[in-house]
């Protein structure tokens, strides 16, 4: 339990760091966001509007400390300000509308990628020296492929050329959102290519990572012992070697989550998927600073929660952490 308590403390600290970064970035960057906006509108704003905007951003002549306390207070009340792009919608509403799409897409894709990638890694380590080694160069290549390029290629081949799957949007124009079979089928159909993108682009890391840990585990005495006892190779492979090799794999998986999320942001943008990544780009393009900051905060917190879940899995799998 001490392990979990420590981790929880660390995540709280990280969440605080993300919040503080969010507060500091606009104030440390040259020029303040309101000035940037005014410059973009070429000065056609009346001073009262500028004042109002400054207030909305929480930028005032008050000391940095007072601003910080106000900012934290607003956050605790769930107030992230109003979006400029979707004025006068609250940033929290924009996020609440787009977040389920991202969580659904990225969650399912990551789960598939983890299960398939890890199993492939186990198999490849076990069958070292056979034709399965041929997967290695391919995995090395996929490890370095940009997510958005995989997305572009998939849209090109399966979207515009073969026309098997739609290359944009989250559901068809002909269905109305609701819990109906038609709507859900349309959502699944539209999510296929984005999900395949994330699976393809993120699986290589899981394959390579699992293979390397597994190969090291296979040299351990208890594996040799299990083989000597005459256990079936399937039992040795999964219950003895893979079970131990999975622990470091979970840690590296948790650390790679931020990268997967970043890639998913790009993937969403290619597919015009209405998730949080597309919203982030809209925010940046329109210099919608409240929206940008709100989304960064939510993404960071989501990654932290996912990390915490990975830690919980670790505790379940490794009795040593439960002392």
């Amino acid at each position: 339990m001490r392990f979990l308590a420590r981790r929880l403390g660390f995540y709280l600290l990280t969440a605080w760091a993300a919040v503080t970064l969010n507060f500091l970035i606009p104030r440390l960057m040259p020029g303040d966001p309101v000035d940037l906006l005014v410059a973009r509108l070429k000065g056609n704003v009346d001073p009262a509007a500028v004042e109002a905007m400054k207030k909305a951003f929480g930028i005032s002549d008050a000391g940095l400390w007072t601003q910080y306390v106000d900012y934290l207070g607003n956050l605790f009340r769930g107030e992230l300000g109003r979006s400029i792009t979707f004025f006068p919608t609250e940033v929290s509403t924009v996020i609440a509308d787009s977040l389920p799409w991202t969580i659904g897409l990225v969650g399912v894709a990551t789960l598939i990628s983890y299960v398939v990638g890890t199993s492939l890694g186990v198999l490849m380590a076990w069958k070292r020296g056979t034709w399965l080694d041929g997967v290695l160069p391919a995995a090395t290549f996929l490890h370095a492929v940009p997510y958005f390029w995989v997305a572009l290629v998939l849209v090109f081949v399966f979207g515009s050329t073969l026309q098997w799957f739609p290359g944009s949007r989250a559901y068809g124009l002909e269905v109305t959102p609701g819990v109906t079979g038609d709507f859900l089928a349309s959502v699944a159909y539209h999510a296929t290519l984005p999900a395949v993108t994330i699976v393809v682009a993120s699986m290589a890391d899981r394959i390579l990572g699992m293979r390397n840990v597994m190969v090291t585990t296979l040299g351990e005495d208890y594996v040799v012992m299990a083989e000597a006892k005459g256990l079936t190779s399937r039992r040795v492979m999964w219950a003895y070697a893979a079970r131990n090799a999975i622990l470091p794999n979970i840690t590296s998986f948790a650390l790679s989550l931020g990268f997967v999320v970043g890639g998913s942001v790009l993937t969403e943008i290619v597919f015009s998927y209405p998730g949080i990544g597309s919203m982030l780009l809209k925010g940046v393009e329109n210099e919608d600073f409240p929206l940008m900051q709100g989304i960064f905060l939510v993404i960071s917190l989501a990654v932290l929660v996912a990390n915490l879940l990975a830690d919980l899995a670790y505790v379940l799998l490794d009795p040593r952490t439960r002392q």
Partner: protein, 275 residues
């Protein structure tokens, strides 16, 4: 073997970036009437919508993509060395603080942070983009270097240096640093891959300097020019392939180095036992 293939790929791209523009002295942004042509004798890799030669863009773009990647990785690695070695050497409270800082940056999602930072940049030049990417790319190296420093700092030669009165700065940078050079090299290569991918992503979103030709900005223009709908595969395939290939090259060199350190990882041909 892996190292050789990887190094071959890297040398190829390094030559392309250094000598390529001297061989093809054309303006990569120059437009012509021959728009959207497939690969041919005149344009080996075809042309864009506005008739720009794609091969020329790839060659010139390699300078920006590799340049930003390497520059950003140099900054990030320098920072990683400072944080990792100082934390690992001193231990105690200094190490605690630096470790927490490192772990925070490891967990925070890098690309969204880069996008937000780039959103606030008044000018998005090559150097500022490189710095923004470096801000998010140093943590992994720092973590690895700290772990290595911990294992080195109690060795005899370090103790001897300390006993003979060398100051901590000198011990860290003249005694420990040289021993860690191989580790620094692998973490540098991994950082370059990350930085090239980040730069490509940022340019693809149109958030880097779009007036300079880079592989990422080529993809940005390809997507906005509806290359996918028109079927102009020659427009978006080469830049992405180059990014992936150079990443493969760097990864191969890194994996090769790993295998030297850990022979079990090697792919050996297992001889079949004779019946």
């Amino acid at each position: 073997m892996k190292i050789r293939i990887g190094a071959g790929i890297l040398v190829f791209f390094a030559l392309m970036a250094l000598a390529g523009p001297l061989l093809i002295s054309a303006d990569p942004a120059a437009t012509s009437d021959a728009g959207l042509q497939g690969p041919s004798g005149a344009h080996w890799l075809g042309t864009t919508q506005t008739g720009q030669d794609i091969l020329t863009q790839i060659v010139y773009g390699s300078r920006v993509s590799l340049g930003v990647g390497v520059l950003s990785a140099v900054i990030a690695t320098a920072f990683a060395i400072a944080v990792g070695l100082v934390g690992g050497y001193f231990g105690g409270a200094v190490d605690e603080v630096l470790s927490v800082l490192t772990n925070i940056f490891l967990v925070l999602p890098a690309l969204p942070l880069i996008i937000v930072l780039a959103g606030y940049l008044p000018q998005r030049g090559v150097a500022s983009v490189a710095v923004v990417i470096a801000v998010t790319g140093w943590a992994w190296g720092a973590r690895v270097l700290r772990a290595q420093t911990l294992s080195v700092r109690r060795r005899d030669f370090v103790e001897a240096a300390r006993a003979s009165g060398e100051g901590p700065i000198r011990v860290i940078f003249f005694e420990i640093l040289p021993v860690l050079l191989p580790v620094i090299a692998t973490s540098f290569l991994a950082t370059v891959v990350g930085a090239i991918l980040a730069e490509a992503g940022l340019s693809f979103l149109g958030l880097a300097d779009l007036s300079t030709v880079s592989w990422g900005s080529m993809l940005y223009f390809a997507q906005n020019g509806q290359a996918l709908l028109i079927g102009a595969w020659w427009w978006f395939v080469p830049p992405g392939l180059c990014i992936a290939l150079i990443g493969t090259g760097l990864a191969l060199v890194n994996f090769g180095l790993d295998e030297i350190a850990n022979p079990r990882l090697r792919t050996i041909k297992v001889r079949k036992a004779r019946a």
